[in-house]
Amino acid sequence: MTRRIDTDVAVIGGGLVGSSAALRLRGMGFSVALLDKGFCGAQASGVNYGGVRRQARPPEQLPLSQRSHAIWPRLKALIGIDGEFLRSGHLKLARTEADMASLEAYAARVASFGLDLELVGHNQLRERFGISGHAVGGSFCPGDGHANPRLVASGFAAAARRAGAEVLENTAVTGAVKSGDGFALEAGEVSLTARVVINSAGAWADQFARDFGEPVPLQRTYPSIVVTEPLDPFLGVNIGMEGGGIYARQVTRGNFIIGGERARPLENPDYSRPRSDGVLAVMQRASELFGGLRHAHAIRFWSGTEATMPDNNPVIGPSSTTPGLVHAFGFSGAGFQIAPGVGEVLAELVRDGRTSTPIEAFSIRRFAQFGGDKHS
């Protein structure tokens, strides 16, 4: 039996972006259906590393990132849980003088955005931050932090449900077409009509973009995360490394969460698993950087599926082909921090047709020359 739903807004994809948009839209009084082919928050939003970081983002992302920055401390009021958000600060390390120079150049370039970056010398790394391995210096962003991705995305979806959004899990959208002034969606046993559609389908968003004549060069990437047993607290900040290779944080319970390599997809590319050589390499780097990890155990690895664009910027904004369709995907492994801000921006776009936050750099038009059809 097909169930019919008529709604103002249909959100395809219950990740952090879709869920936070759904919650905000409910706050504005719109009726919302939030659809996910699996469970809300179970993909990239729930399995990313958990960094809540503005530092190291390209300048064009910083206004949006700052908007989101204001939301994180208010999670408890917004969704009922704090998501284990800790404003710990984010310390980006430099392995070499050349890397340090690029951190200095970045600090100068984004000085006007109010990140309050502090350049830190070699001696302070050990004294202030307990970094025992080789690094020549770093850049510290005191307002950044980290949170528990498994809780935050699920928390937004649960809050949206409580606020009256129709949350449809295990409900894959199999067809979405323009119909009159709005859209008609087919999703298993459910048939929807909606005035507006938000495509926040993450690594699966390119299918919907293509259906509306906007192929994009989206690629799937798979993070590879190592978790230790709980250890005495000795790392108070979220750590990154210029040039990549390792990032790490220690949660309140004491576990270290460490990344720095990519996982490999399984036969079904919706799923992936960390590679053994990758996790061992990350464990090696981590124990060089933090002496306290040398005698620790890894108890768990995880991976997930993220959507990455060639320029590492997301696609956010109205469709270039279809009025009423709004895209928000392709966060390229850096979506967690800005997603709640994106949710607000999407809700503004639905209500007002525009937003107070500059998002032109993320327009899908930048991929207009992409001949995606030949890949389909």
């Binding site: 928050g41 949350v167 960390p274 061992l280 005698h295 108890i299 768990r300």
Partner: protein, 466 residues
């Protein structure tokens, strides 16, 4: 000689030993990886140091089987690549990641026999984390392999044949057995008569044990519920309901277990399909009578595939090895394969009887108090789990793990996963089969960061030319 890699056997219990023996007999040289320092698995576990006891006093009625397995495996030493005290912590695409002597090894394999065995199944009780509380299996290992007891005045509680066996072994070892608390009503034991024609010796031995316990003055209670283990710093007594009355028995040790659960993580990592098994009340890897899983080249044998006991494990290990031979195009004894199949079918009928006589008290899950610890690694109470189920409108086990951390700790849900599934099913009014199963992730057991400092490449193509 072909250029194919050697088959890999995981586990050197009864299934792994018989599998190795059959492969060697056919001219293959299997790699055998086992976590224990000596072969035998849990049931025929050997002592770390000689304690002067002979096999009869260690293994009782099963001494002859134990000795045969130990001897047969010892005879294979020159013809297998045996790696004791080795943890296989990940596998993929014909390569196993193994921690052996603190070093990381990558072992290529062609044909994988998983004989990973079982651990005790438990449901949380108030006080189950107090010092002095052991699983039945652990209580037995203490006695068998370490010549220790878990107390001087001990209560055994739960369900399953092991309940009476361990209690009886403790009695024989001179320990005061204060009580045996059976979750099943006495009437369930009537099912044992159906087992008589299938395995008269097994059934009669069990009845004799129960009789000897009774004669020794051990209190036997049936249909117990509401178990509560109490004590300040350690176990002091156990309280329970039975026959409409509240009881309390003083003790300094508790052995507790609800039969066994299969160790299926490696089958999951190997990509095997799973299905719900009503008898074991668990999702288990799909397994043909031959031991073939849903994945070509991956075979399952013994309690790791489905709980069937040690005799079945021996037969299933050998049967899986014959399937490996057949799939490699090597000659194998077809008549022997058929005989093993019949033997396994007969034991399977006996398992149905035992499960009816010693049923799993799934209804205990509904009684777990909110304050009782459900996940002991991550210290999550049943109440916190119930709250998460409500707050996040959960209906699937991996989502419960994601938001509550149940099953995220050192044991990766091997201890609490079954209980969490029961709780989720009960809270949401769903069937246990429909709430899913915890997906396995590497490492299947914790691995040290120090592992990374060892040479990672020396074993890359180990023995591949055989």
């Amino acid at each position: 000689m072909s250029a194919r890699a050697n088959p890999l056997i995981v586990g050197a219990g009864p299934a792994g030993i018989r599998a190795a023996q059959a492969l060697v007999a056919a001219g293959l040289r299997p790699t055998v990886v086992d976590e224990a320092p000596r072969c035998g698995g849990q049931i025929y576990r050997q002592p770390l140091v000689d304690d002067g006891r002979d096999a009869q006093s260690r293994y009782g009625s099963e001494a002859a089987k134990a000795e045969r397995l130990h001897r047969d495996f010892a005879a294979l030493q020159d013809r297998i690549d045996y790696r004791p005290q080795a943890l296989l912590w990940n596998l993929r695409d014909g390569i196993a990641d193994i921690m052996h002597d603190g070093a990381h090894q990558r072992v290529a394999y062609d044909g994988l026999i998983l004989s990973t065995g079982a651990t005790d199944r438990v449901l949380p009780l108030p006080g189950w984390t107090l010092p002095g509380v052991f699983t039945l299996g652990a209580a037995q290992i203490a006695l068998k392999a370490q010549a220790c007891t878990i107390g001087t005045n001990v209560v055994f509680a739960g369900s399953g044949p092991l309940l009476y066996l361990v209690a009886w072994q403790y009695l024989r070892a001179g320990v005061q057995v204060a009580a045996v608390l059976d979750a099943a009503p006495l009437s369930a034991k009537i099912n044992l008569w159906r087992g008589l024609p299938l395995a008269p010796a097994v059934v009669l031995r069990g009845l004799k044990m129960a009789a000897e316990l009774k004669l020794s003055g051990t209190a036997l209670h049936f249909g117990v519920a509401g178990l509560r283990i109490e004590g300040e710093a350690r176990v002091e007594r156990i309280a329970f309901r039975s026959g409409g009355r509240a009881h309390s028995v003083a003790c300094d040790g508790v052995g507790y277990g609800l039969n066994l659960r299969s160790e299926t993580q490696l089958a999951d990592l190997a990509g095997c399909a799973f299905r719900f098994d009503p008898r074991d009340r668990a999702h288990l890897p799909v397994n043909e009578a031959s031991g073939r899983s849903s994945v070509a080249g991956v075979y399952l044998a013994g309690d790791g595939a489905r709980i069937a006991g040690a005799d079945a494990a021996e037969a299933a290990g050998e049967r899986a090895a014959l399937a490996v031979l057949e799939d490699r195009g090597l000659p194998y004894d077809v008549a022997r394969a058929a005989a093993l199949k019949r033997m396994l079918q007969r034991i399977d009928r006996l398992r149905d009887v035992l499960e009816a006589a010693f049923p799993y008290p799934a209804h205990w899950a509904d009684e777990i108090a909110d304050s009782t610890l459900l996940c002991r690694c991550e210290e999550i109470s049943a109440g916190e789990a119930r709250q998460a189920i409500k707050d996040f409108s959960l209906s699937e086990l991996n989502r419960l793990k994601a938001v509550s951390r149940i099953g995220m700790g050192r044991c990766q849900g091997r201890v609490c996963g079954g209980a969490a599934a029961e709780l989720l099913a009960g809270e949401t009014g769903r069937d246990i089969a429909s709430v899913g199963r915890l997906r396995a992730q590497a490492p299947i057991k914790p691995i040290p960061f120090a592992l990374t400092s060892s040479d990672q490449t020396n074993e890359e193509q180990h023995d591949e030319a055989h």
